[in-house]
Amino acid sequence: MLLLLAAALPGLLWDAPPDTAPALREAGITRVLVPRARLSAWQNVAGISAEPADPQPAVKLRPPGVNYRIDLGSASRSPWLDLNGWQYQRRPQGRFTYEAKGAQAALAAAEAFCYGGSAMVHPDDAGLKPFAQMLEFLRGVDKPDMPALADIGFLDDGSPAAGEVMNLMMRENLLFQIVRQPDPKLKLNVRLGTKDFPLEDAKNPGVMAHAVRAKLTDEKRSVRIYGSLVVVARVTVAPDGLRVHLLNYAGAQRKVDGVRVRVLGHYEKHRLAAAGSPGEELLDFVADTDATEFTLPELKTYAVIDLSR
C-alpha cells in the first residue's frame, strides 16, 4: 500500500547560452541543468552552478494546468486537468521533463515535488521567477521519506487505457497505488478486464473512474475535496499523522478562494505551509471521531498541511 517518495527538488533545464545568466540571477535562479555541450561555457558563471543533463531520454510531461475545452461538449461540468501524478506513480524511478510557460513552471515544480518525481522543468523567460519562488518554498518544506496513502490498488498493465484510468482516478482524488498483485490490505483492488471493471468500460476512463469510486464508496475515501474542481490532493503518511498535499491546477491563472478538505481519522494538531501565502491559517478546523475537516482559505499553487494527533 505504500510508496516511498524520493526527496529531490526539481531542476531548471536551461539550454540558452551563459549570456542569459543576468536574467537567471535576477529571477533568483542559482542552479541550472544544461546540455553537456554547454556545460563548460556555464562552469565559470558567477552565482550560478551548472550541472549536465540529458533531457532526450526523459519522459516528456504535459504542462500542468486546466484545459476548459470550451469547444467540446461534455457530460461533466468539471474542467479537464492536465496532470502528471500518475506518470510519476507508473515510473517511480523515471526521469521527466516539462516545457512550461510562465507560472506553469511553478506548478510543474510543485507537482514533481509533491509526487517525489525526478523532473527537469524548462521554463520560458516568464517562468523563471515563479519557478525560483516555488523552489524557495519547496526548500523550506521538510521532506522526510513519507509513504503515500492509498485506498485503491491498481494493477497497471502499462497500457494507454490503464494510464487514462489512473489519470482520471487521480483527477477525482481517488488515492491509488500501483500493485503487482491485489493487496488485501487495501480497500479496493482494480484490475481492468475483470467482471467489475470490464475493458469495454475502460474506453471511457471517466466512466471507469466513477465505477471505481462507486465500488470504493465515498465513505471509505481517505480524502475528499469540496469547493473546487481544480484541486488535486495527495496524502502521505508520517509517523504521527498525515501530510496532505494540495495542488491547484488552475494556479497559473488564478488562486482558489477556499477549499474544504476532509480526511479520515482524528487529528487535533495541524501545521500549514502554503506557497505564496506566508502566515496563512486553516479555518473551521474540526476533528471528529472518524474524520478531520478544515478549510484552506487560499490556495495559490501548492500547499502542505501536516496533521497529527
Binding site: A75, E172, E219, Y226, L229, D257, G258, V259, D288, T295
Partner: protein, 369 residues
Amino acid sequence: MHRRLFLYGAAASTLVRGQGDQPAYRVVTPFKAAAKPGMPGPYPGRVVRVHADKSIDAASRSVNQDTVKQMLAAGMKALTGDNRNEDAWARFVSPADVVGIKVNCSGAPNVRSSPEVVGAIAENLVAVGVPARQIYVYERFDNQLRTVPYAKFLPAGANIVAAEDSRGSILGYDPRVYVETSFFGEDDTRSNVVRLVSNTLTKIINVPNAKEHQASGVTGCLKNVAYGDFSNVARSHRFEKTFTYSFIGTLAATEPVRSRVVLNVMDGLMGVWHAGPFSESERFRFYPKQLMIGTDPVAMDHKLIDLIEEKRKAENAITIFDRSRERLGDPKDPNFNRYIREPGHVEYASKLGLGVFPSDQIKLQVVEV
C-alpha cells in the same frame, strides 16, 4: 455512483431517502427548528396579492416608490389583520433581530428584486426599531448584486453583502451546514448554507421576483431561499435533466433557513414569463404590477405558477408542465426550453411541511391600491 449517496458519520444529520428517480439527501446541520418555524409561519395557505396600476411604468420601467410603499402597507395589514402598519411588521421582527433581506439578482441588471421594494421593507424594519446596522441585503454573487442600486434606497448603515466576493469562493458559506447528495456523479457533493444566514441573521425576509425558470419551472419564494442561500447548486442540472424537483424543497427546509425565513414579499412589478431567470430578452418580460405577500412560500409559489401559466397561455406558449422531449431546444422560441422543467418542486415542498399546495386550500386575498 449515479443518484447514490455515500454516507459517513456526522452529528446532527438527517437522511432524506430518495423517491422515484430522486436522489437521497443527507442534511447536516447543528441548528434545531424554532418552536414556530418561519415557513410556513402563522399564515399557512394565505396569500395577499396587492395590485397597483401605477406601481411601474412599463415603457420606462420606472417604479413609483410611494405607490410601492402603499402596496406594501396594504398587503401587510391585509395579511395580519392589523390596522397599523407598524403592528403588522412587529409580528415578524423585533428591535433585537438581525434581519436579512434576501433579494434575487440572477437576472440583474434587467430583472431583480426592485430596490424600491427593498427600500420600503427596510424602512418598515427601521420603523419598528430594527437599527439600520442590523439590516443586511444579501445575495450569493457580488457581481450581480452590485449592478443594482440598493444603497440608494436603504437607510444609512444598512449592509449590502454577497456570499461570493469572487465567483466560486466557498469562504462565505458555513461548513457546518450542508445538504449532501450526488446528482450526476459529481465529486463535490455538498451544498453549504450562506454563512451570514447561519452565523448572523436571526430573521430573513425573502424578496424573490416573479419569474419563469428554465429548470425549475418558476423561481419564486422557495427557489430564492434554496438556490439563493446555498452553494454549489447548479450541479443539479445537466443536459435536459434537472433535480430541482426535490432539491429546492430540501434546501429550503434545512435549518436554520426554514426557521429564519419569516416573511415573503414577491416582487411582481415586472416579471419574466419565459427564458428565466436571466431574462436576456425583453420580449419575455411582462408587468403584472403586483406584490405578493405571505408567510407560506408554497401557497405563494402556487399562485406564481398560475400567474406565469396565464401569461404563457395568453402568449400561445406551451405550459411549463410540458415534459415532451420534442420541446427541448433553443428558448428563444417560447415553445422550446433547455430543460424538462420541474414546477412540481412546489408541491414537493409542501410534502416537507413548508406550506399548503392544493388550490382549494389556498386563500387568496386581492387588494387594489
